[in-house]
Symmetry: C2
Subunit: 134 residues, 2 copies
DNA sequence: CTATTATATCCGCATATCCGAATGTTGAGG
DNA sequence: CCTCAACATTCGGATATGCGGATATAATAG
């Protein structure tokens, strides 16, 4: 269980709030997050590492991809904060735009590059991983 | 209404969490906070100014004293976050110690120096101000 | 007016944070 | 083995933050 200051510090950044907002819709690989956020990959990875160290997200490797998912709904503090945050962000235009971009990306197939590397020979990475416990 | 990042940034500091925890028990003047926190006055004032700019507290002057009070229960995000935070801090020993110190300080008269300056001639500053709307 | 008390703000200074570019690492394919 | 793609980490620099001491402001008492 992380200290409350670590939780709030992790959420005290706009890019990380955008990530949390997106992961609230289901787990995502880094490249898709990068696509939606429009930021350099090192930045996305760094923010994800910070969220992970704060206990807010967990990562799971699947081949070349690493999928991140929200994982803090089990501690009461994080659950309360994330619930309040989710309700609030639903009313903010910027975050809604991100959610829309995610929907569009999912429609034309998540992991925007996967079709280049997986010519329909393999089941392709799962979009909604069953469980995360890291 | 402050941006969510400002709210979380304001809460991403241990001293400020201690202040919020204390103010959740009612409004307090700076000198009493300083007494309980055991930190230099400039530090307490600086943290209070930051909390104020984040919209979490309001100040009200009464003679020489300035009383601070939590004031963010009106926005849904802040209310949700503060509620979750209050429940969480109730279980952390350090913050409970602060609450105990506040109780003791109230027993022997809040505003620990007031009796030196108010020899029972004036009603003395109120401990629980009726309403704050800053 | 002066003195005193409470609080706010300023000043360096140390440290932390954020960023993008560059480099490392890992896993799949050939 | 080598190559490539996804991701992680490191690097250097700009900016932000937290801190205590010093100083400024505000209000009250005399």
């Amino acid at each position: 269980m992380t200290a409350p200051t670590a939780l709030f510090r992790a959420l005290a950044d706009r890019t990380r709030l955008r990530i949390v907002n997106l992961l609230a819709r289901g787990s995502l690989c880094v490249c898709d997050l990068q696509q939606i956020l429009g930021q350099p990959q090192s930045s996305v990875s760094r923010h994800l590492a910070l969220l992970k160290s704060a206990g807010l997200v967990a990562d799971r490797r699947d081949g070349l991809w690493v999928f991140y998912a929200l994982t803090a709904w089990d501690t009461p503090l994080a659950r309360g904060v994330l619930a309040a945050l989710r309700d609030h962000l639903a009313g903010e235009a910027d975050y809604r735009r991100d959610a829309d971009a995610l929907s569009r990306l999912r429609l034309r197939g998540a992991c925007h590059l996967e079709r280049r590397r997986r010519p329909a020979s393999r089941p392709a990475p799962r979009r909604a991983p069953a469980r995360l416990e890291a």
